[in-house]
């Protein structure tokens, strides 16, 4: 009954049903209980995801790669230009491919008919896939979504848009589960935009706030720039492969199907690099990587559970998922892979440096998310199975600990009357003990401290980069990136603990907005915190030491192609890397402790020193990226737009009017005949027409 095809359809269907139910019943019937359908549906979807993963695991244990497709309906069919193809052939000169003479016997398959080759049928089906990669993503998404939904029951309590919030959450879960189980590029693109829409709606949830509405628009537009690249990439994939399917179909090989992966029939050369870079641009938009990261910090205007779910744990990782899904395409192009690694490494560093000077707790976490996503891209860019697995591993652990941190921040906001400026908070550990301790666990995991989840996954990424740096021919960028990664680890530990110390340690400081109810949050909020904290402590070590995640993921068709080498049980090679990264993290923690707990003296000195070299300003002003975009893109484009509008009114329309003047001179002569009554013109026109017909009849 609950076979794989049933489950894969059931998971998004549950979310969709809950969305529709909430939308229909929320405003009138459910009101304060609007969370019920969504929470129940996500719980069931989570259980279904677990069931799916277990079954997939059982199925793929004895196979090199495993995928299972469930086709729902055919979305669109456009037959190819068969006719045009044949004509081309007949008209062609019959030359061989690239001017090579034809060999006898090749004629039909390879020679002249190649140029007569008709364009393939365009056929897109709504097809969902089950394979290890998508089942891991499904479990992660539904798990975090479940906890966030439960948390939101407390957090959003009493909000006038309560039902609307849960409708959007349900819609998001539907879109996200569809995104990770879509089995063709078109469907991927559809839900790629759909999660973007949910993000737009949820960022602008409190749309009366001008900042929220502006942030929603900004997110959508920056993502549109990324999607521009993604769309171009998809179009190029179509023109190169003649298919948009991941899987093989009766009509031919899919782009990422088992057969193609095994036979290695991937296009190479410039087009491969172009496809990868365009897909990467899309991923940069969704996953907030340089240079399209600017929307994510502003997205914090949305409700905090949304920040946790969409802007930390799930949606923003869609870019990572996509690049991992397309790993075989990236494997063909070394240049593209290097670009992925460089983008990831730089984003990780820049994000961490900016996070170190922010004063808004949610924005610190936002920049931290940008930085951690950068790590994931760094891992993916390291190529091979080890890098991809490490990137996905970090995706999973990051979903736990960053979800935890955001929910913790939300808990602080909830208790403090919405205040999130860390300069106005302090010493909250006594008033909010559960929040404090779970937040600490999250911070330490983010810092990458043994044995928490972040340690294992970040270590795996650095190890993969280190290994790649050791290979001949790749040394230069990867060696640099490895050291950048270590520096980033230090900065990460610093900003994570800085935030913790400022909010929870030191003398107690409660803002007046909190009023009399500065207290620990309700049970519905603390329980998800505790569960996520537990996952943060356990998951990393368990997945790493058992090696189960790496082994499982390796059966994904598009990852199987990379071979199964490298990552597995913790190997000795990791130890040096682990030692260095731990040292970096300890240094960061120590600095944060010195500056924010031990001595304000040191703090002033360090800040002054940073200010002297300009780094502080750079960090606090977020590297001036927003201002640069405003000056280089927004203003010029608006200027051009105004110019075009002026041109349209004055010049083009003017020319047209001028043309109207010429007949007017003539018309002055004929004015006696025509009264200027327009219907008369129509009448004359019709009469003339009839006259014309009449002459035709007569002749």
């Amino acid at each position: 009954m609950f076979s794989i095809p049933v489950l894969i359809v059931l998971i998004p269907a549950l979310a969709l049903a809950a969305t529709l139910a909430t939308a229909a019943l929320g405003p009138r019937v459910l009101r304060g209980r609007s969370h019920l359908p969504v929470v129940v549906a996500i719980l069931l979807a989570f259980l279904a995801s677990i069931g799916l993963m277990i079954q997939v695991d059982r199925e793929c244990s004895d196979r090199a790669s495993y995928e299972r497709i469930a086709t729902l309906w055919t979305w669109a069919v456009v037959p190819g230009d068969h006719q045009a193809g044949r004509t081309l052939f007949r008209a062609g000169t019959g030359g061989g491919v690239d001017g090579k003479p034809l060999e006898p016997g090749m004629k039909r398959t390879a020679g002249a008919f190649a140029e007569a080759r008709p364009s393939p049928d365009f056929r897109v089906e709504v097809a969902l896939r089950a394979d290890p990669l998508s089942s891991v993503m499904l479990v992660t998404v539904t798990f975090v979504a479940l906890l966030v939904a439960v948390y939101s029951v407390g957090y959003m309590h009493g909000d006038p848009g309560y039902w609307r919030f849960f409708t959007y959450i349900g819609l998001f879960v539907f879109s996200m589960t569809m995104l990770v189980s879509a089995s063709n590029f078109l469907l991927l693109y559809v839900f790629w935009e759909a999660v973007g829409l949910c993000s737009y709606l949820l960022i602008g949830f409190w749309y009366q706030k001008p900042e929220a509405a502006a942030a929603g628009k900004k997110a959508f537009l920056v993502n549109r720039v990324g999607d521009f690249g993604f769309a171009l990439g998809v179009f190029l994939i179509w023109t190169t492969y003649g298919s948009l399917d991941f899987h093989d179909t009766a009509g031919g090989l899919g782009v990422l199907g088992e057969q193609r992966c095994l036979s290695g029939a991937f296009a190479g050369g410039a087009v491969a690099t172009a496809i990868c870079l365009l897909l990467l641009l899309g991923a940069c938009g969704k996953s907030a990587q340089l240079p399209l990261h600017v929307w994510l910090p502003d997205a914090m205007e949305g409700p905090t559970p949304v920040s946790a779910l969409i802007h930390a744990a799930t949606m923003v990782t869609a870019g990572v998922y996509m690049v991992a899904r397309c790993a075989p395409l990236f494997a063909v192009s070394t240049q593209a892979q290097e670009v992925v690694a460089v983008v990831g490494g730089l984003t990780a560093l820049v994000g961490a440096v900016i996070a170190a000077s922010q004063v808004d707790l949610k924005r610190i976490l936002a920049y931290s998310t940008i930085s951690q996503l950068g790590y994931m891209f760094l891992g993916l860019g390291a190529g091979a199975a080890a890098g991809n697995t490490a990137g996905l591993f970090h995706l999973v652990t990051h979903a736990f600990f960053k979800g935890l941190l955001f929910l913790g921040a939300g808990s602080v906001m909830h208790g403090m009357g919405g205040v999130i400026d860390i300069r106005r908070l302090g010493g909250l550990r006594r008033r909010m003990p559960i929040t404090c301790w779970t937040f600490l666990i999250g911070c330490l995991a983010l810092a990458g401290l043994f044995p928490l989840a972040g340690f294992w996954s970040k270590d795996a990424i650095l190890a993969a980069v280190h290994q790649r740096a050791g290979e001949a021919g790749h040394a230069a960028p990867y060696a640099t990136l490895y050291w950048l990664g270590l520096v980033t680890a230090g900065v990460t530990a610093f900003y994570a603990l800085r935030a913790f110390f400022l909010v929870f340690c030191g003398p107690e400081q409660v803002p007046p907005e909190a009023g009399s109810h500065a207290h620990e949050s309700p049970r519905s909020m603390t329980v998800p915190l505790a569960i996520l904290a537990g996952a943060t402590v356990v998951a990393g070590a368990w997945l790493e030491i058992s090696g189960s995640l790496a082994r499982f993921l390796a059966s994904t068709p598009s990852l199987a192609v990379l071979g199964s080498g490298g990552h597995g049980a913790p190997s000795g090679g990791h130890l040096a890397v682990a030692a260095w990264s731990t040292a970096a993290a300890m240094a960061g923690i120590a600095l944060a402790w010195l500056m924010y707990v031990r001595s304000p003296q040191i703090r002033r000195h360090v800040v002054a020193a940073m200010d002297a070299v300009g780094l502080y300003r750079l960090s606090a002003e977020k590297f001036f990226v927003d201002q640069i975009y405003q000056m280089l893109i927004v203003w010029p484009l608006e200027g051009v737009a105004r110019l075009a509008a002026w041109l349209d009114r004055r010049v083009i329309d003017g020319l047209v009017d001028l043309m109207g003047w010429a007949p007017r001179g003539l018309g002055a002569l004929l004015r006696t005949v025509q009264a200027g009554f327009l219907p008369l013109y129509a009448l004359v026109m019709l009469l003339g027409l009839l006259l014309l017909l009449g002459t035709l009849l007569v002749s």
Partner: protein, 590 residues
């Protein structure tokens, strides 16, 4: 079905008389008529059997006795190209009647009569199967709209009406000459009676195309009328003026249907009858389209008046439609034609919403409005859906057309053998996609400023207007927009239903043009050939890393002659590890 088609087309004309006669109850009578027409066209759509042949054909001799030199027939019918545009006209007329319900108080009888006459014209122009009949309906649509704009429009309505009329008239004269020239050429070269039947002309000209100079002259004539109607930049300047000044119903029908008459004309006449000219001008036509896309979007970005903004967005979107059509392949033309329907739904709806805003606040200036979402949640919800449809959000209709036609353009530029124009076609394709980004920018900026943020409504309204504050959408208004939203979702989620019905017809219409393309570019394609579709399909393989075919898009496989997947061995440089390949035998194959 033929009598039903005839009844559908002329029922509105009868309804017009009724509406004019029924005075106070004109709007009810118009609504009933348009609903009937909608139901009847739904029956026609359901009854369409598919395939490339027209159906519900009504064919009567009209002018010219049997054996005479001319054969003008009263010939009506629907095929895959006209079916959806026909249905769209019926749908949007219902919307137009509903949005005029409260807005039109003076001369309501005449107003609704003209609206219904316009419907007859629109339905007829798509169903006409005879050149003369087509042209009569074509011209017939102008007159009611001229009066609708001229009498019920805003302040500058006179100038708008005259400009609209003269512009379109000037173009259509040339178009008419072009059409007549086709008929005369055909009768001169085929012998026999001068047939005016579109189907017959299409068939004959496909077998025996006109000589190239004639084609060029004829095409330029057709282009003059249709390009103004579409409108393609820079012939668009009548459009913003007409839209801004027209009453809401006029804008809805003008944007929703009447612009499509131009693009329909291109597909119906220019493509199959002057294919060589289309192919010859193709780089220029595509260039004009993409210029319109970007230019329209940029001008829209700078607009303050919501209605002007949407008018310029139409210029941009019609550029998309025509880009798909002129890509001259299946994907492009199906996307382009579907996009005509999509644009009608989305932009028709957007104009309706602007009309509803204007009724409430008596302004269309973006700066006068803000934060309407809080007080007018239904209005805001419809506006957001329609905007998202307009900017091509997946899951809604706009995406389907846009995706298909852009895919077609990419196929033309990269895979179909661009024949010496590859570089410029590629630039055009990429620019066209950038138009999608700009589209999102101007629409969302407007939506954000008008609907979100703190509430702002014009102050003078409160002083002069009625005592009670304006209310959210009434049931009537919700119904009007809801009709459109149903189709917006339907096309978005299951486009196959719509595509399959138009596909065979469009294939037939496209065939002469793609043959002409092959004819004209045979030399170029042969001499500088690159395999259009790399043979990756067949499972041919090459070393994965560092494959560098002759050109960036050349065949990546060294050896194409081997049958797929037989005798597979991992090549040494392949990243697949041998154990994986060896285990292939047990691999799961569905």
């Amino acid at each position: 079905m033929a009598p039903l088609l005839l009844a559908t087309i002329f029922l509105p004309a009868v309804g017009a008389i009724l509406a004019a006669a029924s005075g106070q109850r004109a709007r009810q009578s118009a609504l009933v008529t348009s609903l009937f027409v909608l139901a009847m066209s739904a029956v026609l759509v359901v009854g369409f059997p598919g395939g490339a042949e027209p159906f519900a054909v009504l064919d009567l001799p009209w002018f010219g006795a049997a054996g005479g030199p001319v054969d003008i027939r009263f010939s009506l019918g629907l095929d895959g190209l006209s079916l959806w545009l026909f249905a769209l006209s019926a749908l949007l007329t219902v919307v137009a009647v509903l949005v005029s319900w409260e807005a039109i108080t003076e001369g309501a009888g005449t107003f609704y009569a003209l609206l219904l006459l316009l419907e007859t014209g629109m339905l007829g122009v798509f169903a006409a199967r005879d050149v003369i009949l087509f042209f009569i309906f074509f011209e017939f649509t102008l007159v009611p709209l001229f009066f609708l704009i001229g009498f019920w429009g805003s302040e500058d309505r006179r100038r708008a009406a005259i400009k609209f009329f003269l512009f379109t008239m000037a173009g259509s004269v040339l178009t008419f000459l072009g059409l007549i020239a086709i008929v005369l050429w055909d009768s001169g070269h085929g012998g026999g009676r001068a047939t005016f039947s579109i189907a017959e002309l299409t068939r004959r000209l496909a077998e025996r195309p006109m000589d190239r100079p004639t084609q060029l002259a004829v095409f330029l004539g057709l282009f003059a009328g249709f390009a103004i109607k579409v409108p393609l930049a820079p012939l668009h300047t009548w459009l913003p003026l007409a839209h801004v000044q027209a009453p809401t119903a006029g804008s809805v029908l003008l944007a929703g249907v009447l612009l499509k008459v131009g693009s329909y004309g291109f597909v119906r006449f220019a493509l199959p009858m002057t294919p060589d000219a289309v192919v010859l001008f193709m780089p220029w036509l595509l260039g004009i389209c993409v210029a319109g896309i970007v230019y329209g979007a940029l001008v829209a970005l700078a607009q303050q008046d919501i209605k002007r903004l949407i008018a310029y967005s139409s210029v941009s979107h019609l550029g998309f439609c025509m880009l798909g059509v002129f890509a001259l392949n299946r994907l492009g033309i199906e996307g382009g034609v579907l996009q005509m329907v999509n644009h009608g739904l989305a932009t028709g709806g957007l104009f309706a919403v602007v009309g509803m805003i204007y009724e409430r606040f008596h302004t269309r200036q973006i700066d006068d409005l803000g934060g309407l979402a809080r007080q007018f949640p239904r209005l805001a919800a419809f506006m957001v859906i329609l905007s998202l449809s307009s900017i091509g959000l997946p899951g809604l209709n706009g995406f389907v057309g846009e995706f298909l036609l852009l895919l077609g353009m990419f196929q033309r530029a990269w895979a179909d053998g661009a024949a010496g124009q590859a570089a410029s076609y590629r630039v055009i394709s990429v620019l066209a996609v950038s138009g999608v980004v700009l589209g999102a920018w101007y629409m969302l900026q407007m939506v954000q400023r008008v609907f979100f943020g703190p509430l702002r409504t014009p102050g003078h309204h409160l002083r002069e207007g009625p005592a009670e504050p304006p209310a959210d959408l009434s049931l009537r208004e919700s119904f009007a927009l809801g009709l459109l939203v149903v189709f917006i979702f339907w096309i978005g989620l299951q486009p196959r239903f719509f595509l399959d019905r138009m596909s065979p017809t469009l294939a037939k219409i496209l065939a002469p043009a793609s043959q002409a393309y092959a004819r004209q570019h045979a030399a170029a394609v042969g001499a500088n050939h690159r395999a259009p579709w790399p043979d990756l399909q067949a499972g041919a393989r090459g070393p994965v890393r560092g494959v560098d075919a002759s050109g960036p898009f050349g065949p990546p496989c060294a050896d194409r002659s081997e049958p797929p997947m037989r005798g597979f061995q991992a090549s040494p440089s392949s990243p697949i590890s041998p154990p994986v390949a060896a285990r292939r035998g047990s691999m799961h194959v569905r």
